[in-house]
């Protein structure tokens, strides 16, 4: 495995949320590439891949979207939650498309986090995914969340 910067190592193993700040403040390309490599590497530990996914979400790099989406398809519920959270924070069009898939996940909490992410976006694609969720999701809780997000979008 490539040598990781101290800031990246600290962020990946952060116990306190503010340990992530130094990595995000310096935004080095080498750290971004290392994060993508960790997410894509299925020999890495699950917890390390999940942490890397979370960090990529705050980096907001579109090239990471497909890597996150692909990794999430192999991961357990916690991993898919981390992916949904990351894609929601990225908020770009490619991220919203990947998020729409997670909004149909079998696990309720993955769908909850996906709806949160869709709620932050003003795109038509996000609106479409919210409408589908509000009308067809198995869970009343999720349907209500999606409907509330649509009302907020329309200023209601």
């Amino acid at each position: 495995m490539a040598h990781l910067s101290p800031e990246l190592e600290e962020a990946l193993e952060a116990e306190c949320g503010s340990s992530v700040d130094p990595l995000l403040m310096r935004r080095r390309s080498s750290d971004l590439q290392a994060l993508k490599a960790i997410v894509a590497d299925d020999t890495e530990s699950t917890s390390r891949r999940q942490s890397a996914i979370y960090l990529l979400g705050n980096w907001k790099d579109d090239e990471a979207v497909e890597i996150i989406a692909e990794a999430s398809r192999q991961m357990d519920e916690i991993g898919r939650i981390a992916a949904a959270s990351a894609l929601g924070r990225m908020g770009t069009d490619p991220a919203i498309r990947a998020l729409a898939e997670l909004a149909r996940d079998e696990a309720l909490d993955v769908r909850r986090i996906a709806v949160n992410g869709l709620s932050r976006s003003t795109s038509e694609e996000a609106l479409g995914a919210l409408q589908a969720t509000a009308s067809t999701d198995d869970s009343e809780i999720i349907r209500k969340r999606a409907a509330a997000a649509m009302r907020r979008r329309s200023g209601g």
Partner: protein
């Protein structure tokens, strides 16, 4: 068990003698910070408070009292059963920016964080700690002190390091930032702190008069009170 002012449960790791008289004397004679505790429980499960509430409160008092002569007065501990954090009690938080004097600003408050930090605002303390069953969507974190403007507080995950509560409170009191020493409360990995209780330096306690309020050390924090009567 008798009710004792500011005591909310048993510290099974380090049981100690307590009395109403000693608590009242402490309130009268020493500086303190008020903190309220909220245990979040998803619907359909346990309704009990987090098992280590009193352990964390005792350890925070031990730490801040030893170094800074300030103790932690818990005004209330409540359990809130809510579905806002889903069925697993995991917070979808955007980031953990904006705490500490040197921390980067611009904290983005997520919808769930906004709802969470409304709880416990009527419990007699401006600072509220939220004990969360599954932490946040950043799976490595055990705590975070970022909070919506005007609603001071922090969250701590169930079962995390015994110093996490005190560490996150440290970010709020005097705006303390991370330190390199693993004996210091503000060491970046609270689970690897080696001193019991952890240390705070005189500068962390007293700060500097040149710094703005809330960033100038524990004793100078506006949240620290003393009885005047």
């Amino acid at each position: 068990m008798r009710d004792v002012l500011g005591v909310y449960g048993v510290n099974s790791e380090a049981p100690r003698a307590r009395s109403l008289k000693s608590q009242l004397e402490k309130l009268r004679s020493k500086r303190f910070v008020r903190v309220a505790c909220v245990t979040i429980r998803p619907p359909g499960g346990s309704t009990a408070p987090y098992v280590n509430v009193q352990r964390d409160l005792d350890r925070a008092t031990d730490t801040f009292e030893q170094s800074c002569d300030v103790w932690v007065f818990c005004t209330a501990s409540v359990v809130v059963t809510t579905g806002i954090l889903g069925s697993n009690g995991m917070l979808d938080q955007s980031d953990c920016k904006g705490r500490g004097f040197l921390g980067i600003g611009g904290h983005d408050v997520s919808g769930e964080e906004d709802q969470l930090f409304d709880f416990g605002r009527n419990l007699g303390a401006d600072i509220v700690c939220y004990f969360l069953p599954s932490g946040s969507t950043n799976p490595s974190l055990g705590g975070c002190a970022a909070h919506p403007k005007g609603r001071q507080g922090f969250w701590v995950q169930f079962g995390t390091s015994r110093w996490m509560f005190s560490h996150e409170l440290g970010h709020l009191l005097g705006g303390l930032d991370h330190k390199g020493s693993n004996r210091n409360l503000m060491f970046r990995r609270p689970g690897s702190i080696t001193a019991t209780p952890p240390e705070l330096t005189e500068r962390q306690c007293e700060g500097s008069p040149a710094l703005p309020p809330g960033t100038g050390g524990v004793r100078n924090d506006p949240q620290v009170e003393e009885c005047s009567g």
